[in-house]
């Protein structure tokens, strides 16, 4: 397990009695982007939620930087360096952009929180002009950037993004994917990405994981999955 920032072994997870993810195992090295793809209902989001502690883990192991964190509740995982960005409702719509950022830095000391907010505003300057706007008045792309900024405030080492480009116009989705590459290349973060628009996401990733009916059907370099005509055609709509 040493050398990997995240290791998942034989993970079985779901919601209550609904067993969704079966025997999932994979490793993720520091500074990589891993994209999880697969058809609707294949368990992609559940796998992410199980890693973060939101879905129920029945058995298996989640190891972060060599420590077993399988049973840690989400707020503890958030404190030790994991971040999870939900697919929807990932910002407080009724709060202003500034208030959202203050909430993202809730557990930090005031001076540290101020510095971190300043840092993320420098990374995403578009938010500087909208600090007093309510989040609900932002466009879909701006909202996702705010959500990313909120995630970054805690300086997480591993960021898990659940369909961040869902419901976005293609041009905005492309811009957002560039921001995700920026997370890896400039901020040296490790990213797990769950995506519906498989091709664009796989193109920016280092590794890929294909899930089919709750099981991992492919695990390896994303280039390998992009070039696998049979899997691509069958499960990802790629030609």
């Amino acid at each position: 397990m040493v050398g990997y920032i995240l290791s998942v072994s034989d993970l079985n997870a779901g919601y209550g009695r609904f067993h969704i993810v079966f025997d999932a195992s994979f490793n993720l090295a520091d500074g990589e982007i891993l994209t999880i793809v697969g058809p609707n209902g294949s368990g992609k989001s559940t796998l992410l939620k199980a890693i973060f502690g939101i879905a129920t883990v029945y058995s298996g192991l989640v190891s972060f930087k060599g420590s077993d964190v399988t049973r840690y509740p989400p707020h503890v995982k958030a404190r030790i360096g994991l971040a999870y960005l939900p697919q929807t409702d990932n910002v407080f719509a009724e709060l202003s952009v500034r208030e959202n950022l203050v909430m993202a830095s809730y557990t930090l000391e005031e001076s540290e929180a101020r510095d971190r907010i300043e840092e993320v505003l420098n990374i995403y300057p578009i938010l500087k002009q909208k600090l007093d706007y309510k989040a609900k008045s932002l466009s879909g792309g701006e909202r996702q950037i705010l959500a990313l900024a909120m995630t970054l405030i805690r300086k997480p080492e591993l960021i898990m993004l659940d369909e961040p480009t869902g419901n976005l116009a293609p041009i905005i989705a492309k811009e957002l994917l560039k921001k995700i590459v920026q997370l890896r290349d400039e901020l040296k973060k490790t990213v797990i990405l769950v995506e519906q628009s498989a091709k664009a996401a796989l193109e920016i990733s280092d590794r890929a994981l294909l899930m089919v009916s709750g099981r991992i059907a492919y695990e390896g370099p994303s280039k390998g999955l992009l070039e696998d005509v049979e899997l691509g055609k069958k499960y990802l709509g790629l030609r």
């Binding site: 707020h75 409702d89 407080f92 009724e94 909430m103 809730y106």
Partner: protein
Amino acid sequence: MVLPSPEFIIYSIAYGSSLALLCLGLTLTYMTTKVPNFAHGTLAIVGATVTLMLIDRVYYQFRGDPLYYSLYIAAPLIAFFVVGLVALTEYLLVLRPLVRKGIGIIGLMIAALAFDIILVNILTMTLHLAPSEYFGKLIGQSLKGFDARVSLADITTTFSRLAMPVVAVILTVTLHLFLTRTKFGIAMRASIENPSLARVLGIDVDRVYIVSWFLAGGLAGVAGSFLSFIIESVKPAAGSLVIVSIFAGSILGGLGSIYGALLGGFLVGFMEPMATIMLQNALSEFLGRTVIITQYQRLFSLLVVIVVLLLAPQGLTGLNYREVIGRVRRVVGVG
């Protein structure tokens, strides 16, 4: 048509102000636990009872003395803390354990009703079984005679009726500043809007709910303290009457916005006596004899509930004002 007197308008403003605070509290608790707290009216009566006891045991002897005016600070303040704790008890001992067990909304509503009945019985026992040397003199009596009278020009009113709107404005501004300028206040708004995201960010949502319930109870205590001078007599079961108006104001406000609750509460509280007295005057004039309908005052609130739920279930805060203004403009032929 005979219009209401200035004294009656002042009374209506005072009643509207106290109802605004009560609706604010009900909405705050509804937004956190998603259960309409049927005990909220009785919480106000606990505040009224605290005031009654305070007059009975302490202030009775100071009537006519300038010191008597300190009652208007001491009573709401003590009521704030006492009723805040009672509301907190309801949340911690009754509702929170049920929410954690996954009990649905129907179960929670029945639990809130049960707590209301228990509270009424505790109040009854406190007032009637306590030795008569304690709290003996005023039980079941009207406190109207214990409200200091104030004369302004030709208008004679009472101190509580002038103080209530001022207190309501001060509390509203304080709460607004708390919710928008403090980190914990913003966390309260965040936790109410999206508790799961708030938890992911490390906010202690349960602590936020605890503070919300205490605040809601505290505001009910302050409102009840002033209501004790308005209602006919401080009786344990009087909460069942007030709760109708509280629900009407909260539903008019939209049940999802504390600012809507303030507005809805004030409008219902102000209009309930005003509409009743105006209808009474009109009926008396039409029939040529005196007609008394003030005992049916709550019908106005029930009517508000029915109309709002039928026509605008989202309440005032859910209305599309541009559309409404556009419609009005078209009707009056402007723009």
